[in-house]
Amino acid sequence: MSEHVDSVKTYTAVWLILLVLTGVTTAVAYIDLGAFSIVVALVIAAVKMLLVALFFMHMRHSTSLTKLAAAGAFLWLFFMLAFTLADVWTRGLVGTPGR
């Protein structure tokens, strides 16, 4: 079998880091970071996601195609959010077409 079997140690370490990060994100939420709060929260969440994906979902050992597919999903999510926000954030700056 060419399959890579990770060690219990690796999984345990990742698991504990995830728990710690959960604590961190909760605690940090009580600190006033202004506009940065959301950034910090999303960064921590992204790190947790990467840990789960790379280690628990074995993405470290998966094919480039799989990694591309996963990245593609997030890219598409980004497109959807970015272009919709591009509308919402710029409304009212100039008049509406047709009026």
């Binding site: 195609l65 593609g72 999903a73 598409w76 497109f79 959807m80 272009f83 919709t84 591009a86 509308d87 919402v88 954030w89 710029t90 409304r91 009212g92 700056l93 100039v94 008049g95 509406t96 077409p97 047709g98």
Partner: protein
């Protein structure tokens, strides 16, 4: 006389069909289903056109008219066009073209069909129980709050059918990546496979968004959890963003496989490789990607910001480029080719002309300024019918004729087929060209009462629709006729390249007696043996 066993006669029971895992049988099941919905959509279209012959709203009430155009759109888009080519011709031929015995997940394939049928049943129930009147676009807050029609049943139907589409896309993607025959590199694949692959990417990335949007509409109607309700501070335009994020790429789901069919047909009936193979392959991928970035052109007059409109308009022009690349490459393929005017080629010529018109008028409406004038008029209606009917449906018919001998072992009657193609072409143009003029002159869409001066154009359009309807009926009759009385064909009546032509007609259950090893490029006519009945 002994009959060879093939996929059609291996098992005659209903169970052998309804529980089949054979992609070829599933393709036939889909063909029957989508044809039924084409008929249903066609009935609604006929009622619309009859109503529009006179300026008064005299055949049906306004409420009923709203239901007619809604159900026409729902039936045609979700239950005919979206599944059409991928689930019938794609299902049948994609595995064969890559030298596989079946798709990666045959049971998922069968499930996809059942989901379409179940979704269709919900939609059909809604239609029969009183109909839905929101337009196929379900704009809020009308669909969520004010409409008193069968929105929920229809929405459920579309939701379920959406999963049919997603699973087909998933199946195709995994199949193309993992199940190609030895020697079949990506750039040796037929362009029809590239087209379906690109379509599958769209299905997988886009459909879930409309699915969740429908869930929200459902929740708003059933649980009164509103997120599109302006009374709660909700944004109806958000619905439009979410809806069109899928529904624009959806039109590429409808047209990309058609373009794949045209690539195959143009090549065979010119006996030349497709010019610029790589460009055509990459253009399919480009359309799939860029097609996701243009949805705001449906929101130009929705109060969407003009800056966003600018970006969407620019990108909409950009997405036309790969389509144009294809048209140029097809034309170049014809140059110095050995042209045959068999029926599939006639449909391909029709496609190229009509898709070009439809595509160019797409650029008209992609222009923000012009769109303000023609949006929600018959200009838009004409534009999308040119690409979807003049485009996709013609390609579908062309592909159906092209592959009919392979699927059935019989040739269709060529003269009737040519006649039908001509009737369809004439009927189509007579129906929809006047609508460009109507729209430009200001006739709104979704209205059944109109000023007298528009009547002449409407009568022409309805006359055209009658001709078109006849044109569509002919193939249904002669194709059925050919199953019994058509000339028996051999493996390769057209002298086409492609692995599907190397096996028997109809194909054996497992497609190939021996999995082929591919050693040459796609469309290599030097290696082809023409075997069987020839038509030209």
């Amino acid at each position: 006389m002994e009959t060879r066993e093939h996929y059609l006669n291996a098992g005659h029971s209903l169970k052998s069909w309804l529980l089949t895992k054979d992609h070829k049988r599933i393709a036939i099941l889909y063909l029957i289903t989508v044809t039924i919905f084409f008929f249903i959509g066609g009935i609604f279209a006929s009622l619309i056109r009859v109503e529009l012959m006179t300026p008064q709203g005299d055949l049906v009430s306004s409420e009923t008219y709203n239901k007619l155009f809604t159900m026409h759109g729902v039936a045609m888009i979700f239950f005919f066009l979206i599944p059409s080519i991928p689930a019938t011709l794609g299902n049948f031929f994609l595995p064969m073209m890559i030298g596989a015995r079946d798709l990666a997940f045959p049971r998922v394939n069968l499930l996809s069909w059942y989901l379409l049928v179940i979704g269709g049943a919900f939609a059909l129930f809604a239609m029969l129980a009183g109909g839905v009147d929101t337009g196929w676009t379900f704009y809020t807050p009308y669909s969520t709050t004010y409409s008193n029609t069968w929105v929920i049943a229809t929405a459920l139907g579309i939701f379920v059918a959406g999963f049919s589409s997603i699973l087909t896309g998933l199946n195709f993607i995994v199949t193309v990546h993992r199940m190609r025959a030895p020697g079949l590199t990506w750039f040796r694949m037929p362009l029809f496979v590239w087209a379906n692959y690109a379509t599958a990417v769209i299905q997988v990335l886009g459909t879930p968004v409309v699915a969740v949007t429908i869930v929200l509409v459902f929740c708003e109607r059933v649980f009164h959890i509103g997120i599109f309700d302006p009374a709660l501070g909700g944004d109806p335009v958000l619905f439009q963003h979410m809806f069109w994020f899928y529904s624009h790429p959806a039109v590429y789901i409808m047209v990309l496989p058609a373009m794949g069919v045209i690539s195959e047909i143009i090549s065979v009936y010119s006996r030349k490789p497709v010019f610029g193979y790589h460009f055509v392959a990459f253009s399919s991928m480009a359309i799939a990607v860029i097609g996701f970035l243009v949805w705001g052109h449906h929101l130009f007059v929705s109060t969407q910001s003009v800056y966003a409109g600018l970006v969407f308009s620019f990108l909409s022009y950009f997405v036309a480029i790969p389509s144009a690349v294809k048209v140029f490459n097809w034309t170049a393929t014809l140059y110095k080719g050995s042209i045959s005017y068999a029926t599939p080629m006639l449909y391909a010529f029709g496609f190229i002309g009509l898709f070009t018109i439809g595509g160019l008028t797409g650029l008209f409406v992609a222009s923000l300024g012009f769109d303000v004038h023609v949006t929600d008029t018959y200009f838009v209606v004409a534009h999308f019918h040119y690409v979807m009917v003049g485009g996709t449906i013609m390609a579908f018919l062309g592909g159906l004729h092209y592959w009919w001998p392979k699927m059935t072992g019989r040739m269709y009657p060529e003269n009737w087929a040519k006649l039908s193609a001509a009737i369809i072409f004439i009927g189509f143009n007579l129906t929809f060209f006047p609508q460009f003029i109507l729209g430009y002159l200001g006739m709104p869409r979704r209205y059944h009462v109109y000023p007298d001066e528009f009547q002449v154009l409407h009568v022409l359009s309805t006359a055209g629709a009658s001709v078109l309807a006849i044109g569509y009926l002919f193939p249904m009759v002669y194709l059925m006729w050919s199953l019994r009385y058509g000339e028996v064909v051999g493996r390769n009546p057209w002298g086409a390249t492609g692995l599907e032509w190397k096996t028997q007609s109809p194909p054996p259950v497992h497609n190939f007696d021996e999995i082929p090893v591919v050693t040459h490029e796609a469309y290599d006519y030097s290696t082809v043996i023409k075997e069987g009945v020839e038509v030209g």
